[in-house]
């Protein structure tokens, strides 16, 4: 069984990495600027927005999956796009789960030293955009762990991706849904072995990421 899984396993790992990479990338591109904006500015309703992102951090994945499913279902508003049961729609569901995490964490990190940085930026006559970039670069290390949290949530998620992705063999099956499938088949040991592989993948990504941060510091 393990041997016949070899080619398929590599394909599943490929889909998993592709999905997690794009979910993380898009979530960070959307969430970080918003988080910085919240961190550096003060306006009415800011507290509510932050509380909302905190609330959505607790959004059950299956619920996110259901919402995305209904949107892209045949009779849904976006049904005509015909992308249900594809990796693309899995990324969309993932972003729904991860963007609030990224916004909330980015806000927490950047708000700590925002006053000081804004002062510096004023002194240097920085534009608003440049100030935001300064806040991102000054908090680089902390923000890197936000990226890793986003990646971690993405690679470990199962409820939403099985619902909108469908766990289709050779197409939308990822590590977590493969583990679920093997568990349902009764192959508990094999499922556990897949779980360990998933952890190894995560470990590798973390090692690469920490090297990247170190390189950057030097």
């Amino acid at each position: 069984m393990l041997m016949s899984m070899d080619k398929e396993l590599l394909q599943i790992i490929g889909v998993t990495l592709r999905m997690s990479f794009f979910s993380t990338l898009i979530s960070c591109l959307l969430g970080m600027p918003l988080g910085v904006l919240l961190g550096k500015s003060s306006f009415k309703g800011k507290g509510t927005i932050i509380k909302l992102t905190g609330t959505f951090m607790g959004l059950p994945p299956v619920v996110a999956g259901l919402i995305v499913y209904m949107l892209f279902s045949k009779n849904g508003i976006l049904g005509s796009l015909d992308i249900l049961f594809t990796v693309e729609v899995m990324v969309i569901a993932q972003c729904m789960l991860i963007v609030p995490v990224v916004i909330n964490l980015t806000h927490s990190i950047t708000s700590v030293n925002s006053a000081c940085l804004i002062e510096t930026a004023k002194g240097l006559n920085f534009s608003k955009g440049k100030t935001a970039i300064l806040m991102l670069t000054e908090n680089k290390t902390a923000l890197f762990s936000v990226v890793l949290s986003a990646f971690g949530r993405s690679i470990a998620e199962v409820g939403a991706v099985s619902l909108v992705g469908g766990n289709i063999q050779w197409k939308t099956r990822v590590m977590t849904t493969a583990i679920m499938l093997e568990t349902n088949k009764g192959n508990f040991s094999f499922a556990l072995a897949l779980g360990i592989i998933l952890l190894l993948i995560s470990f590798t990504v973390n090692i690469i990421a920490s090297f990247a941060v170190k390189e950057d510091k030097q």
């Binding site: 393990l2 041997m3 899984m5 070899d6 396993l9 590599l10 279902s73 045949k74 249900l84 049961f85 099985s162 619902l163 469908g166 766990n167 289709i168 063999q169 050779w170 197409k171 099956r173 849904t177 493969a178 499938l181 568990t183 349902n184 088949k185 009764g186 192959n187 508990f188 040991s189 094999f190 499922a191 556990l192 072995a193 779980g195 360990i196 592989i197």
Partner: protein
């Protein structure tokens, strides 16, 4: 890669064995039934159990999963009896010494469901094998359970020698439960093999019709198997025997024969002769 997998597999087995180490105190009034989703989700067990519990004073704990997982849980000593529908797996379960005896007690039929306009024209097929051939010839989309469940094994038996490749565009191996596969079939205007009970109980949310309902290769037999106390520790043998006896007795038979008539206008399960 293979070596790595072998090592991981070994590790995983060690973990599993470690997890199986402790046996719990056997409570005589609790019967653990490991069953497939079709029996539980169709509402049959929730309908029967209160009557049994009332009559005997036992409490029945039902775990429902795909046939593969249902059997594995029993092999791990976590059930007193199983109620499943996959003859080959059941016989293996007994051959390996985990089960005492296979008792077929009821059956129903698998049906092929699909879009109402029947694009592959399978409506008048004499059996499921012919219908599957037509689906393959026209490359109409087909959703396979792909999860080694009883229904998936029935699919494979109908395909016979030439099971389609899962990378064929039209053949989708979903690896999910019956409900999820039916939803997918509805979304993709696809065909799907399902037990009738699950289909009828989900029909309201689905854009699917029963296209082929009769055929000698579509019979779906459910069996009860008592777990073997000589092989497994902590089995409530008395409870399992009492449950099996009741399920095969007159009272349960009458209830099973009636089940579904009120809600769907027809019985969902028939008693085995």
């Amino acid at each position: 890669m293979k070596k790595l997998l072998a090592v991981l597999m070994a590790l995983a087995i060690v973990f599993t064995l470690a997890a199986c180490g402790g046996t719990s105190e056997n409570e005589n009034k609790i019967i653990r039934v490991s069953t497939t989703t079709s029996v539980n989700d169709s509402g049959l067990l929730p309908y029967l159990l209160p009557v049994f519990e009332e009559a005997t004073g036992y409490t029945v704990e039902v775990q429902s999963a795909g046939t593969g997982a249902a059997i594995q849980k029993a092999k791990d000593g976590n059930a007193d009896l199983i109620l499943v529908h996959s003859k080959a797996s059941e016989e293996e379960f007994i051959a390996e010494g985990y089960g005492v005896e296979r008792l077929p007690f009821m059956y129903n039929y698998f049906v092929i469901v699909g879009p109402a306009d029947d694009p592959a024209g399978i409506k008048d097929s004499v059996n499921a094998a012919e219908a599957f051939d037509k689906i393959e010839d026209t490359e109409a989309t087909f959703i396979s359970r792909g999860d080694e469940s009883g229904t998936h094994k029935a699919e494979l038996k109908i395909w016979g020698e030439d099971v389609p490749e899962a990378d064929d565009e039209w053949y989708i191996s979903a690896g999910q439960g019956m409900g999820a596969c039916l939803t997918m079939a509805s979304e993709k205007d696809a065909y799907c093999l399902t037990d009738k009970a699950t289909f009828l109980s989900n029909k309201a949310d689905l854009d699917l019709e029963i296209i082929l309902a009769e055929g000698e290769d579509m019979k779906n037999t459910y069996s009860l198997i008592e777990c073997n106390p000589e092989k497994l520790d902590g089995i409530n043998t008395e409870g399992a025997k009492a449950f099996i006896e009741w399920m095969m007795g007159d009272e349960a038979s009458a209830l099973i024969a009636e089940y579904g008539k009120e809600a769907y206008g027809e019985a969902l399960f028939y008693l085995a002769e």
